[in-house]
Symmetry: C2
Subunit: 325 residues, 2 copies
């Protein structure tokens, strides 16, 4: 059994042993619903992995893994309300099933429960460091979401600003999951910090690959239609890079295309993709991804943990990058 599968099963067992079977059901049923939706459980797996780098009994990080997964699902729940998203993982979102008010309140309760799982960590000495890391990352996720909202109404977003936004919104929690697992293991601040930097750069590469796949992926392999970001006028790395490289005329075309919602969605996606191809944008995105991966592995090399355990994490990162490509 792979390490990923081992950690994932261990987490799923913990999750099943901790259902939100409290009253009133109207508050807790939506929490059981979203926590039971499944998914890869990437963040809790990383938390357990971050612990296991430093000690065998990785199970001691299970409450931390749970805190992180509850927090992640809280942020998905509230984001779905803000995005008015009807579906997540092919199922109705919480607010479309239970209403917006319950969605807000159940999300609030989840955030509090995340802290309550954090509190269950055995060493009292670790709680302070865990709280510091958790708060820092949680705030970053909120700030990233706010930048994402703000960028929708701005036409002058720069690539560094975009990268900072996805770092806050997505990559910080990937890094934080590994970091908090390491803290739960009793790792030194420097070691936990290097691991966090590894995860943060992996998260950035991961998000750039998401951007790439959304436009250039094979729908059969990615499992969803391509062009969604273009249709919704999302200013991803691809669009921002194209804006930077294009001549005035092409740039004007792209700006016009990316501010309208035409009836002919397929035609718009085709036109934008053609511009991206003419500027060789896919290669630029891949180079940027490579850069983040490189930096990630440099940080991993600095983590004072057994080489064979770190190798597993390196393989995981490479595997994540090869998914659906």
């Amino acid at each position: 059994m792979s390490s990923y599968t081992t950690f994932q099963r261990s987490f799923e067992t913990f999750l099943q042993e901790h259902p939100f079977h409290f009253e009133p059901r109207s508050l807790y049923e939506p929490i059981d619903y979203i926590m039971g939706m499944g998914g890869k459980r990437l963040r809790p797996v990383l938390a357990l992995w971050g612990c296991q780098l430093f000690r065998d009994d990785y199970e001691k990080a299970l409450p931390v893994a749970m805190a992180i997964e509850v927090f992640h699902n809280f942020s998905l729940l509230h984001d779905d309300i803000m995005d008015e998203a009807p579906l997540r993982r092919g199922k109705p979102t919480v607010h479309s099933l239970y209403g917006i008010n319950t969605g807000i309140l159940s999300g609030d309760a989840m955030l509090i429960y995340a802290y309550d799982f954090l509190r269950q960590i055995e060493e009292p000495s670790a709680i302070s460091a865990l709280l510091e890391a958790f708060n820092r990352v949680a705030i970053e996720v909120c700030e990233g979401q706010q930048y994402d909202i703000d960028f929708e109404n701005r036409q002058d977003v720069s690539i560094p600003e975009y990268l900072r936004m996805i770092e806050l919104k997505t990559a910080a929690l990937i890094g934080g999951s590994l970091e908090m697992g390491a803290i739960a293991a009793g790792a030194a601040p420097g070691a936990a910090g290097s691991l966090a930097a590894f995860g943060r750069n992996i998260g950035l590469a991961f998000q750039l690959q998401d951007d790439n796949l959304d436009t250039f992926g094979d729908p059969a392999k990615v499992g969803k239609k391509t062009g969604g970001d273009i249709a919704r006028n999302k200013k991803t790395f691809l669009i921002l890079k194209a804006m930077e490289l294009a001549g005035p005329e092409t740039r004007g075309q792209l700006e016009k295309l990316m501010t309208t919602v035409p009836e002919d969605e397929a035609g718009k996606i085709e036109a934008v993709t053609a511009i991206l191809n003419s500027l060789n944008i896919k290669t630029f995105a891949e180079e940027a991804m490579e850069g983040f991966l490189q930096r990630a592995f440099e940080h991993l090399a600095a983590v004072p943990a057994p080489g064979n355990r770190k190798e597993g994490l390196r393989q995981l990162a490479l595997g994540l990058m090869q998914r659906q490509a």
Copy 2:
């Protein structure tokens, strides 16, 4: 200068020294706005008071007081979204000024910052106990809010259910404020628990008095129109007690009145108030308040702190009860 004023000023100074001057402003400006709205600062004052019962340097509880006030304002912010309230303390609510999405997200950030203030408490040994108390109370507030929402669509709410709802939604945090102040002072669990029970009963009495004033208060003294609860069909203690005591005919009238929103609001308020008066409901509410006050003082008597310091708290409770009556 009274103790209340001393604690309030001390808190206001701390608040001014900790503005939310972070980026992006679109996330933090709404937080500065709601935190600057003022109010009596009852909960942070109680936290400082709970600390000062056991030691002179009550300032050590300032981060706890701040955590509680930030949490309280977070819950007001999200409640206002759920209630679609346009105004709070005579000013536009956050979501009506900045939009619902920012309201949700700024509230989320506030909840995280509340934990970050909690973390700033000096003794690491106190953090675990503070987290336990804070999480317990914060979850109770969410549960109380959910019961309040659920009760809107139920016609069979009992008085014990109503009292439990207001205990969770309002009284738990009043008790928790005193309790967490005591924990920050290093008080023993039993002492902090008795103080929490005092506050919880005061909170219950306080809410029943709110119910009473909303219907029977002198508008000139209360500072707002009376009858708001009746107009909005709120099933407060007064209505539930009347339902319990009324004969079938009056009960039928009351049920009908309290499920409709007629054009003649003033006529409806008058009719319901007449029924309440005919059943002597005000006296029943006052007796219930008296009962909670009595129990509160019994718990206060059990708190192992100097009598003169406890006397200040007793006077505060009596003062709160006499407001606007």
